[in-house]
C-alpha cells in the first residue's frame, strides 16, 4: 500500500520543475501520441532518447525513476509473454508441440515492453516535477474551453485536488483500521474469495463512516474560508517562458523524427 509512488511530487528546481505545468501536460500528451505512432525500432529509439533527455532535465535520480516502474513489472512481463506466444509470422526460432516462437514475436514483445516503459517513465516524470496543485490547475486551464458545453471544469479540478490531498490520509486510515481489527483477531489473509470479501466489511464500514465525517468537516472548513467556487484568483500564475519554448521545439523535432523514421525504415508493426 505504502509503496505507491504514482502522483508523488519530488521538490526541486530543475529545468523541468520550472516549466509551465500546462506545457508539461501537453508535452505528455504529444509524447503518448508519438509513442503510438512509432512503427519500428529506429523511431522508438528516438523516444528513448527523448525520455533520457528529460530525465536529465528533471534531475530526478535514475533510481527513483526506475522505482516507479516496479509496480508495473507484472504487466510488462505479461504483455511480453503474450506477444512472444501469439504473434506469428517471421522465422521460427523454437517449436515444441503447440508452442511456437518466432523472431517477429520476440521483436514485438521487446517493442511493446519498451513502449510501456517509455509511457510510464515519462508520465511519472510529469508527476515527479509538478505539484498536484499545479497539475490540476493546468488541467483546469487546458480544459476550460469545455465550459461552453456547460461542463463544470473548476469543480472537476477541485475534486481532483481534494482526492490527491486525501489519498495519504486515507491510506493511513486504512492501515489504522486494519491493525485495530487484526488486534481483535480478524483474519484478513486466509480463505477463499467469499471469506476474504467478507473480511473486508470490518474495514470498509469504518472507512466509509470516517470518510463521510471528513467530507462533512471539510465542507464546513472550505465554506469558512469563503469558498464558493467562483471568483477565485491564484497565487501561482502560470507563465510560459524560454524553457517551454525549448521543450516545444524538442517535441516538434520528436514528432518529425518519428514520422520520418517510420517512413524510411521497414515497419515492424
Amino acid at each position: 500500500m505504502r509503496d505507491i509512488t504514482i502522483g508523488q511530487y519530488l521538490s526541486g528546481n530543475s529545468f523541468m520543475h520550472r516549466m509551465d505545468a500546462r506545457v508539461k501536460v501537453l508535452l505528455t500528451v504529444v509524447f503518448v501520441v508519438s509513442v503510438f505512432l512509432c512503427k519500428n525500432f529506429w523511431s522508438l529509439l528516438t523516444m528513448v532518447l527523448f525520455v533520457a533527455v528529460f530525465i536529465l532535465l528533471s534531475k530526478v535520480p535514475v533510481m527513483t525513476v526506475l522505482k516507479s516502474i516496479k509496480p508495473l513489472a507484472f504487466i510488462l512481463l505479461f504483455t511480453a509473454i503474450l506477444n512472444i506466444f501469439y504473434v506469428s509470422g517471421g522465422n521460427v526460432l523454437f517449436e515444441w508441440k503447440f508452442i511456437k516462437i518466432t523472431d517477429k514475436g520476440l521483436y514485438t514483445a521487446v517493442f511493446m515492453a519498451i513502449r510501456i516503459l517509455c509511457l510510464v517513465t515519462f508520465s511519472s516524470l510529469l508527476t515527479y516535477t509538478t505539484t498536484p496543485t499545479a497539475l490540476t490547475d493546468a488541467i483546469e486551464k487546458l480544459l476550460s474551453p469545455l465550459k461552453i458545453f456547460k461542463i463544470q471544469v473548476h469543480s472537476l479540478a477541485m475534486m481532483m485536488t481534494l482526492a490527491l490531498r486525501f489519498i495519504p490520509t486515507l491510506i493511513e486510515e486504512i492501515d489504522r483500521i486494519m491493525n485495530a481489527q487484526k488486534a481483535r483477531g480478524a483474519d484478513l489473509e486466509t480463505g477463499g474469495f467469499i471469506k476474504r470479501a467478507k473480511a473486508l466489511i470490518p474495514i470498509l464500514i469504518p472507512l466509509f463512516v470516517s470518510s463521510f465525517r471528513r467530507a462533512y468537516d471539510l465542507a464546513f472548513a472550505m465554506e469558512c474560508r469563503c469558498y464558493t467556487g467562483e471568483g477565485r484568483t491564484r497565487m501561482k500564475q502560470m507563465k510560459c517562458g524560454p524553457r517551454d519554448a525549448v521543450a516545444s521545439v524538442l517535441a516538434a523535432i520528436l514528432i518529425a523524427a518519428v514520422i520520418l523514421l517510420n517512413h524510411f525504415f521497414e515497419k515492424l508493426i
Partner: protein, 286 residues
C-alpha cells in the same frame, strides 16, 4: 467599555433531526465578544459549546434570536461572505481542514477565494506562515507534519484572510501536550497583535490563560467572568462539573491547611510564586 465584535442576543439553536425537540443544543444565550479580547469557552462534551462556535460565523443560523458580527446579522445570506472575512475558524481535526497538497497552497486557499491579486496573496501567505512559525515548512506536504504543525498551518490559512477574530473550535482536543502548547502560544501571540480570540476547550490549563471565561452547561452560558472569579465560584464549578486547574488544586490544598495563599492562583507560575512568598514569610528562606 470596549467595542463588541460578535453580539449574541437571546440565541437558541435546535438541531432539526434531533429526537428531543424540546431540548435545544444552545439555549437563550446572550453574549458579547469584545474586540481584542481572549475569551475562553469552557464546558463538557454535549454542553453546546461546539454548536455555539458554529453560530459565531454563520455556519449555523440561530433557530431563534440573532447573532451579529460587527452589526451584520448572520441570517443575512447576501452578506455571509463579509462575515466570514471577519471571523475565521480553526477546527478540531487538523486533517479535515487542509485542502491543498502543499502547505503554502493551503494557506493561499482563503485569499484566493477572496479574489486577491497574486502578489498580494503571496505576501499574505508568507506573512501568515512566518507569524505561526511554519515558513520553513511552506513546501512540505501536510500529511508529513505533526498534529500541532497542521493546526498552525490551519491558523495561517485563517490569518492570511486577515480576519479580525478567530474561533478555535476545540482545536487542541486531538493534539498531544506539545501540539496543544504550540497552538495555545500561537493563539496568544495573535491576540497580542490585536486579533480577537474565542478559544473553545475543555482543558482548564488553557482556559485560565484567557481574559475571560464563559462556562457552558446544558446549552446555556452559566457564567462569564475573569478566570479568577470563575474558579472561585463554587456554584458555577459544581453546576458545570468543572474541576480546578491542577496548580490551583495544590494551592487550595495548601490554603486549607491554614497557610495564606492568594485565591487567584491558577497557573503553575502563579502557584510557584505564591508558595515562594509563603515560604519567605514563614522565614524558611530569605
Amino acid at each position: 467599555m470596549k467595542e463588541t465584535i460578535i453580539h449574541l442576543e437571546d440565541v437558541s439553536y435546535t438541531y432539526e433531526n434531533s429526537e428531543e425537540k424540546t431540548h435545544p443544543a444552545v439555549h437563550s444565550v446572550n453574549l458579547e465578544v469584545r474586540k481584542g479580547e481572549f475569551l475562553a469557552v469552557l464546558g463538557h462534551n454535549g454542553s453546546g459549546k461546539s454548536t455555539l462556535a458554529k453560530l459565531f460565523n454563520g455556519i449555523l443560523v440561530p433557530t431563534s434570536g440573532e447573532v451579529k458580527v460587527e452589526g451584520i446579522p448572520t441570517s443575512d445570506e447576501k452578506r455571509i461572505q463579509d462575515i466570514r472575512k471577519k471571523v475565521g475558524m480553526v477546527f478540531q481535526n487538523p486533517d479535515n481542514q487542509i485542502v491543498a497538497t502543499l502547505v503554502e497552497d493551503d494557506v493561499a486557499f482563503g485569499p484566493e477565494n477572496l479574489g486577491l491579486a497574486p502578489e498580494e496573496i503571496r505576501k499574505r501567505v508568507d506573512d501568515a506562515l512566518r507569524t505561526v512559525g511554519m515558513y520553513d515548512f511552506r513546501l512540505f506536504e501536510p500529511h508529513k507534519l505533526s498534529g500541532g504543525q497542521k493546526q498552525r498551518v490551519a491558523i495561517a490559512g485563517v490569518i492570511a484572510m486577515r480576519t479580525d477574530c478567530i474561533i478555535f473550535d476545540e482545536s487542541t482536543a486531538m493534539l498531544d501536550p506539545k501540539g496543544r502548547a504550540e497552538v495555545m502560544e500561537t493563539a496568544k501571540k495573535l491576540n497580542e497583535e490585536g486579533i480577537t480570540i474565542v478559544f473553545i476547550t475543555h482543558f482548564m490549563e488553557e482556559a485560565v490563560q484567557a481574559d475571560r471565561i464563559a462556562v457552558m452547561s446544558d446549552g446555556r452560558i452559566i457564567g462569564i467572568d475573569t478566570p479568577k472569579n470563575i474558579f472561585n465560584n463554587e456554584t458555577i464549578l459544581a453546576k458545570a462539573g468543572i474541576e480546578l486547574p491542577p496548580a490551583a488544586k495544590l494551592a487550595k490544598k495548601v490554603r486549607e491547611s491554614g497557610i495564606s495563599i492568594d485565591n487567584g492562583v491558577l497557573t503553575v507560575e502563579q502557584c510557584a510564586k505564591a508558595l515562594f512568598e509563603a515560604a519567605k514569610s514563614a522565614g524558611v528562606i530569605d
